[in-house]
Each structure stands twice: as structure tokens, then as C-alpha cells.
Symmetry: C2
Subunit: 249 residues, 2 copies
């Protein structure tokens, strides 16, 4: 149990931020839609590409659920994304029109997602203040490629592959905290999703909600945290301001 | 078995470099000697501080051997360093003169080791060419702190903690290669130690020997690789030159 008395500056002791990535740092929806069009339109396929992105993403939680529940052993997100892509192509009647090489290339679109416009500046502003690491369900290679694609600098890559399980299982947050050798209250989970933050708080982490109101289309993302959080912002530079300066990371 | 025909440019396909850290990137000996003096001299202790550093380091391989052989479960290097420090203080007749807080602070000296002078510039030159990650027996937090201390930028932190075992066990190199999602021959191990490189080559990695002739004192480091390696250099900028430019990381 946390102490009853609230410390005067609850954010002062935060030494590391760990980030959700899909939706929180990158705009997966328009990035996937654009890349799906680039990959599939040359094959003569016409589609509502945003709906295609939504359909692919809709398979994401059910696929991970099978791992979380122990029905499948842990596997990298690339493998789940590929199973999901094949399922969507079949459901959309496109299975016979998309060859293996195109599928493999399109599956890697998740390694080439574009960041929301505030992210690079926000991470840059946060870096002198705290350690920074993704705590994503994406695997290490995917995180490495997204960082290079968007010019991010991480201190480490934490998340699902380290824990060999998927958020919101508590072991994923716990593995991140242990890897950083910090007490949970010195680590803040940053996410645009209330369920992610609620699960992190259960493990003792601080929480920051970043609103990404357009994640699922204009106005169709979470606008406000649906659970209690330590700080709620609309961008990463705003989060840097709220955290304020500190002695050293 | 590798193919019999040697490819024309064996280094062209290298996409990632993974680095040994203690000895290869940082000068642990003089860094530990200096910090031991800073921590212990105020307690009235006089010693040959370089010999103290050597004595502490001499416990390193035997301590890890117990983990490699399965006699101890994996534990972070901080814990082994601390056991070793206590053993050295006892052996040197200093156990009763060094309090717990001093021991804890001194044990963290391994998080504050200074790099060899060429390392920052070398990593900077290599970064546009390849992915860069430590593959050290140090744990993630230690690697994160060394990177911040020396201004390094890594793509990921790989090594012992990911594999939960210590080099030169093959699983440590294999875990690094798998985390990067690359074939072993696209990953090059960089080290100042022939045994590390020999073990990496066994797993299929490319190898680069960097001479650190002063690691154990002036002229008392490995000057030349004692095993076949793909490239042998005397600094990281020289390695960047030898690797040459590439399409993209």
C-alpha cells in the first residue's frame, strides 16, 4: 500500500519513463493505410485503406489474448501481425491476389510507422530529465526499426520480448521496472490507453495519460483518461513541462 | 558449416555490431582504481589502487563461472560485483573499516566507468552504417548508466540479462542475434578479447578484434587476436572505416 500522506511533488522522484508505442507515439492507422495502398494498389486492388488498417488492427488484441492466456507460447508481434494479415486478406476475398513477398513486405509496415508530430521534440525535451524506454507489445527489432525510422533515442528497449508476455499482464511492467533497477514508483508509464495505465498502476508505476483523440480516426481515440492517473497531457512536450527539471537522470 | 566460397566483400552484409563493454569500450582498471581511492582514502585507507582494481576484477570470471555452470541461478552483475568486493575487502584485511553505504557506493563504480578515448567518436561514425548494441555481461541498468555517463547512443541493450546467462555461453550471442531479427552472419561481435570472439564465431557471428593493449596495465592487454577474426583494428573509428558505407542500417 502507498503511504497515506501524499508527497509534496509526486513527480519529482520519477527517474524513468516507459512508453506505450502503438497509438501513443505512432499513428499506426494512417501509416498502415498508406502502406497498404502502396503495397496492394499496384496489384489492382482497390479498397477503403483506412478500413483495411482498422480491420488488421482489430485482430491485434484477440491474437495477443491467446498468448496471455497461455493458449499459445510467446511469439514476436511480427508473427501475430502476419497471421492477422493473412486472416484479413482472406476475409476481404483478397487471399488469391496477394503473393508471399507482398505479404512479407506489407507485414513490415509496422516497422515503418510514422510518429505523431509532437513525439520527436517531446522525447528530446524529456531525455535530459529521465531515462526513456519503450514498454510496448512490439518486439525488440520492431522497436529498434521504429526508433531509427522516427529518429528517436532510447536508453533501452523494454516490453513484451523482455517479459515474453504481452501487456496488460503485470509481468511486462514488472520486467521493465526490474531491468531499470528502480522502485516501481520511480518509473512512469506513458500511454494513450486507460487499460494500459490501470495495469501499470496496479504494479506500482506512476502513470501519464497522453490524449491521442484521432488514434482510431478523427475524434475516435481516448480524449481523457478513464482511470485515475498521476498526470494527464495532450502532448509529450507538455509532459516534459509538467515533470519539470531534475538533478540527473 | 559456412559456404566454402568466400563472398567478395564479407563485411558488406553486416547490419549490426554488438559490443563487449568491459575492456573493449571502457577502461575499467583506471576507472575503478580512481573511484576506489575516492571512496576508501577518506576512511584512512591507503592502498595500491590499481592492484585493488585488479584484485576485484580477478574475482569476475570465477563468480560468473558459477552461474554458467548452473551452480548459481542468473543474477545481475551488480550482485556478483558486490560479493567480489566483499571478498576483496576481507582478503585485504579491510572488512571492518568499510561500512555498508561505502560498499554500495563503491560497487556502483562499475556504472561510472570511463570510455577509451576513441569510443564516442567511433560509435558516432558507425551509427549511420549499422545498428549498435552492447552484448555485455553487464545487466541492462548498468549498460544504461554507462551509456549516459559516456554519451553513447545504443539501439538496444542486449547481453547477459536478456539471455539470463553469461558470455561466453553461446546462448548470450544467440539471444542478441535473435533480438535483432538478423541472421548471425549479419551481426558482428566487437571485442578486445579472443575468447569472446571465438565464442561468437562459433554461433556464426562475424568478429572484429579491437586492440586494447593497456587494459590490464601498460602493455598488458591483448595486442593481437589469438583466433581468426574477420577484421582486426586498433580503434573504433578504424573499424568504421573498414566497414565502409552501406545502404541503410
Amino acid at each position: 500500500m502507498p503511504p497515506i500522506a501524499t508527497p509534496p511533488h509526486p513527480l519529482r522522484d520519477v527517474r524513468a519513463l516507459v512508453f506505450d508505442v502503438f497509438g501513443t507515439l505512432v499513428d499506426w492507422r494512417t501509416s498502415i493505410a498508406r502502406q497498404a495502398k502502396q503495397a496492394l494498389a499496384p496489384l489492382g486492388i482497390e479498397a477503403d485503406w483506412l478500413a483495411f488498417a482498422d480491420a488488421w488492427r482489430a485482430q491485434y488484441q484477440p491474437a495477443m489474448a491467446r498468448v496471455r492466456e497461455g493458449a499459445l507460447p510467446y511469439r514476436k508481434l511480427d508473427d501475430l501481425h502476419r497471421l492477422n494479415l493473412d486472416a484479413v486478406l482472406t476475409a476481404w476475398g483478397l487471399a488469391h491476389r496477394v503473393d508471399e513477398a507482398t505479404r512479407e513486405h506489407l507485414n513490415r509496415a509496422w516497422h515503418r510507422l510514422d510518429a505523431w508530430p509532437d513525439v520527436a521534440a517531446g522525447l528530446h525535451a524529456l531525455r535530459p530529465r529521465v531515462l526513456l524506454a519503450p514498454c510496448s507489445n512490439g518486439h525488440i527489432a520492431l522497436m529498434v526499426h521504429l526508433a531509427r525510422h522516427n529518429g528517436w533515442v532510447w536508453d533501452a528497449i523494454l516490453g513484451a520480448e523482455l517479459a515474453r508476455d504481452y501487456k496488460p499482464k503485470p509481468g511486462v511492467y514488472r520486467a521493465a521496472v526490474e531491468a531499470l533497477d528502480l522502485p516501481p514508483q520511480a518509473v512512469m508509464m506513458v500511454a494513450a490507453h486507460s487499460d494500459d495505465l490501470a495495469a501499470a498502476a496496479q504494479v506500482g508505476l506512476r502513470t501519464a495519460f497522453v490524449a491521442r483523440p484521432d488514434e482510431h480516426g478523427p475524434g475516435r481515440g481516448e480524449r481523457r483518461a478513464a482511470v485515475p492517473v498521476d498526470v494527464e497531457v495532450s502532448s509529450l512536450p507538455e509532459l516534459a513541462e509538467r515533470l519539470g527539471p531534475a538533478d540527473s537522470p
